[in-house]
Amino acid sequence: MHLSTFLQVIVNGLLIGGVYALVSVGLTLLFGVVDIVNFAHGEFLMLGMYTTYWAWYAMGMDPILTLVISMPVMFLVGAVVQKFLFKYIMGAPALTQIFLTVGLQFVLQNGALMVFGPQLRKLKTGYSDQAVHLGTVNVSAPQLIAFAITITLSVLLFLFLSRTDLGKAMKAAQQDKHTAALIGINTDRIFWIAAGISAALTGAAGTAISTYTPVAPTSGAAFGLMAYITVILGSLGNLKGAVVGGLILGLAESFGIQYISADAGKLLSFSIFILVMLVRPQGLFATKESV
């Protein structure tokens, strides 16, 4: 085993994991506050990717700067979906939630096909195929940026939830809807804001990913699947869990590919997921309250 290869495998794993964490933050926030698992999450990501692509295409903006467009646009999408759709399934059994959002997934994915067509669209930037070279180890520049966005957004979200009144109200609403309403919190408003923030975070993830991955109507699906696995692994609604879960899955995938076989990445990461579930049925970071 070469040391430089080993280090590269770790770096690859961390970068992939960072992307998984990034796409999972919005999903876990939505569950944490609104109590919904959105199976159309990957499609929200896809919409974020298209927003960035078109902003780059039409205005020549730097892809990372398009965050100022993709985040507000996706905030709006999230808030609207909450007000007109998710509102009806809050607290409903998992099954009802799954299938309503599966319906939404059908609509968004095929709606995108009707509007944008099937072709892959790839934006071009100076850094999309650049890398930072640390000795023999290469760190993909766009993925490093995605990693930085993950850390920044997670910290901001953490600060928002713990320091601001709105954030505290969200936490209160998450823990007990009725009590929150009794002490004068407008839970309805809290929920659409939270859904909006969740979608905005997902839009940011889409922006980061579109710097190095082409976008098509089906682009979100693979990321969506990884996001569900990530948030379950790290316990639904737990921000730290999403980040740690993403990194574990990313490292497992990278090690599986290098040291088992090139098609064993997901085999290893999903098997680890199943094993963790056996030992901790509520994920790695389950707290007593979330039972």
Binding site: T5, L15, L120, K122, D129, S140, Q143, P214, A262
Partner: protein
């Protein structure tokens, strides 16, 4: 207990009746016939225009449309009094079930022949349905399995997937190893799909036969979101030449990761993604000079090819790529068979296809190799793959010499 039973049986019935009503009205609709003296000849066309496979499906469908227009403009089917070709187009989707239903839907309209399905998995289904319905099906799918089943109504204009590897390795040996002095250390990676698994076998066999040291031979998950781990593995293998069999997204991500990780390796693509205009567009200048195998290309050395490619580009605004060229050829082959059969009867057209040999210079005779002619398994027996290189944004045929009009450019 009976009550629930009863209840739903009636529901079932109500739906069944509704359904019947639907069938009745639609069959009336299709019964109305054209008033023209010469009846149109219907060809059923199945190309996926939704889902993941939509890009190539739409492109190939356009080529079939162009071929039908060309055939009709040239006077239609002469032996049938200038009958026009009419296309009956249905989307087979990307799954077994939808392909089956779509094929049956087309057969309902009594076509004279079928064409389409560039995906082998779809062709497996369509060919089976067509075989049972006794309607000839002419496809450009490449899987070896298709023509190995002893079907009588199945015809394949394209080279088989097992042949690609031999062409790629032959080229690599001749040009890269013998002329340029590269070490014959090959890494073969392929997506874990039907196309990847069937093509890679030919590659590995040919590489071993031609004296290559195969240092890596692995399939990878086609749904990956990141190619860096795979490329790290390729780099660690120490290979000098990479033979990836990839679709579009993975091809793009692999090429980008190779650049990011600064891997010194020469890539010879395995067709599919490496041939698509979107591949070049996504990579920009890094796409320039990329070499790949192809089952057809828009400048193979056959009469009329340039003209077809030019008109296709003018009409649909994109390059005429491998599957589309084959689709064009398949449509003309069907037209010729109908003309020779002097009938729109599927059985006669099948018999005519089985003995068909296109004249050199006939508009549809654009496949590399000899004149289009099917052997007893239904395969176009003289066809072979070619090698292409992206030069100035266009895939140019560079090998074998008799098909190529352009020289390979290697700047090392």
């Amino acid at each position: 207990m009976k009550r629930n039973f009863t209840k739903v049986l009636v529901v079932v019935l109500a739906f069944a009746l509704l359904f019947l009503a639907g069938c009745g009205s639609s069959s009336q609709g299709s019964a109305t016939q054209t008033q023209t003296q010469v009846k149109d000849v219907t060809i059923g066309v199945l190309y996926p225009t939704s889902g993941d496979q939509a890009v190539l499906g739409q492109a190939a469908l356009n080529a079939v449309k162009l071929a039908a227009d060309d055939i009709n403009a040239a006077g239609g089917i002469k032996s049938l009094g200038g009958a026009k070709i009419k296309l009956d187009i249905v989307d087979p989707g990307s799954a077994t079930e939808s392909a089956r239903s779509a094929t049956e839907n087309i057969i309902k309209d009594k076509p004279s022949a079928l064409t389409g399905d560039y995906l082998s998995a779809l062709s497996m289904v369509t060919s089976e349905v067509a075989e049972r319905a006794k309607i000839p099906f002419v496809t450009a799918s490449v899987s070896d399995a298709l023509s190995s089943r002893g079907y009588k109504y199945f015809f394949q204009v394209s080279p088989k997937s097992s042949m690609f590897g031999a062409t790629q390795i032959e080229f690599a040996k001749k040009v890269l190893v013998d002329q340029k002095g590269m070490a014959p250390k090959a890494a073969i990676v392929f997506e874990n799909t039907s196309y990847g698994q069937s093509t890679s076998k030919g590659l590995v066999d040919a590489a071993k036969k031609m004296g290559f040291d195969v240092v890596l031979n692995e399939s990878y998950d086609a749904n990956f979101t990141d190619a860096n781990p795979l490329v790290t593995k390729i780099k660690a293998s120490g290979a000098t030449i990479l033979f990836p069999v990839s679709y579009l997204q993975d091809a793009i991500l692999i090429q980008k990761a190779i650049k990011q990780q600064n891997v010194k390796i020469f890539t010879i693509g395995g067709g599919a993604g490496y041939l698509m205009p979107d591949f070049y567009n996504a990579l920009g200048k890094d796409g320039e000079g990329v070499i790949s195998v192809a089952s057809w290309n828009n400048d193979v050395n056959k009469p009329g090819v340039d003209d077809i490619a030019k008109r296709y580009q003018a009409k649909y605004g994109s390059l005429l790529t491998e599957h589309s060229g084959e689709a064009y050829s398949a449509t003309w082959a069907i037209a010729k068979a109908i003309d020779l059969a002097k009938s729109a009867d599927p059985q006669k057209i099948r018999d005519s296809l089985a003995t068909l040999k296109l004249d050199a210079g006939y508009p549809g005779d654009i496949m590399p190799g000899g004149q289009l002619e099917f052997d007893s398994t239904g395969w176009n027996k003289s066809v072979h793959p070619v090698m292409i290189q992206w030069q100035d944004g266009i895939p140019r045929t560079i090998y074998p010499d008799q098909d190529a009009k352009t020289q390979v450019k290697l700047d090392f």
